[in-house]
Symmetry: C2
Subunit: 226 residues, 2 copies
Amino acid sequence: MKVGIFGTGVVGKTIGAALVRRGHDVMLGTRDAHKKMEEKAADAESVSFHDWLGKNKKVRLVTFAEAAAHGEMLMNATAGHASLVVLATARPADLKGKILIDIANPLGPWADGQMELFVANTDSLAERIQRAHPALRVVKSLNTVAAHIMVNPAGLAGGDHDVFVAGNDPEARDRVTRFLRDEFGWKTVIDLGDLTAARGLEMILMVWLKLWAAFGTADFNYKIAR
Amino acid sequence: MKVGIFGTGVVGKTIGAALVRRGHDVMLGTRDAHKKMEEKAADAESVSFHDWLGKNKKVRLVTFAEAAAHGEMLMNATAGHASLVVLATARPADLKGKILIDIANPLGPWADGQMELFVANTDSLAERIQRAHPALRVVKSLNTVAAHIMVNPAGLAGGDHDVFVAGNDPEARDRVTRFLRDEFGWKTVIDLGDLTAARGLEMILMVWLKLWAAFGTADFNYKIAR
């Protein structure tokens, strides 16, 4: 499948690399592809983007608009505060009817070691994206888990933990559910219904960050015991 | 131990009944004990308060202020919007140095089937209570789980799921952790650190409500897979 991923951070790179390994045709969208391609500074994973791309030659680095045009399925892996700006650079015809898996979190400013969300409680980033692009089929998913677990749930606790989907289009939720199962091996994808459920899925980041601090690792995930 | 519980809803009743069965000396605080005692209307569990009290004679129904005076440990099981008003009726000397396990959630108004919290993101109900009563040792806990699971975690998935504590006093968090293990049988109590973690623990209610709707039951809980 042709997949267009917005964002070249840890999430975009991890998912892009995993999908090309699975034989998919992946374009990674960024603001300035030429500049990004030459980026030599080491990132959080101690690898420059330039070196990463050298090891993942099948991932094509393009503009956001080109990634949007390319993808039959789209994935938003941008920083939350940039998501709406990025999506506004796509041609409307390139978004129409497509599924966007929204992985972004509405991370706001940090102050005194405390994080806050720039949207929460009565609205969500996913709903803002959906309102700005009514012809997109936005499905919130994967944003509750660290990047390495997104693409390899089996690597944690034998895969016995959960991921969620929320979106206004039931058929889109089903397609994303199958995609997560088939491509990454998620055993349990919990359908939380319409996109208002994205509020909770984004707010749970405030728990995730405290767990991360308490455990000293991002190697954990939620499981709903039933 | 002498325990003072604020609130006579499902949470207050469930915890009160469980603690008297364990031999504790429990007072349940309410606004007007005489009126509450005679309440004949069936509640959400199809039992009137009058009948419930008849079956749980060892639980003593008193005013909020009397429950505060009685308890060596205090528990806030009021509706979130009432918590500060209720605690203001206690004599300051009856709160000083005591642990308050804050189980309340800041449930705001419902509109169009959507819930919102009346405090979230940059503050929490637990922090408001702590600021209003600096001499209390507020520990947020148990608010992430249905009442019947609070007192009987073993009844769900063999007890293989988690509860959290957050509070500014490490010794108070440790005491609550032991209390939850010893009295109710919680296997894993995750310490999330200071009371700012209550923000996430309250915001996760937005996920809980969607899970409740999706599953059609409150018989579930979070486990952190590691």
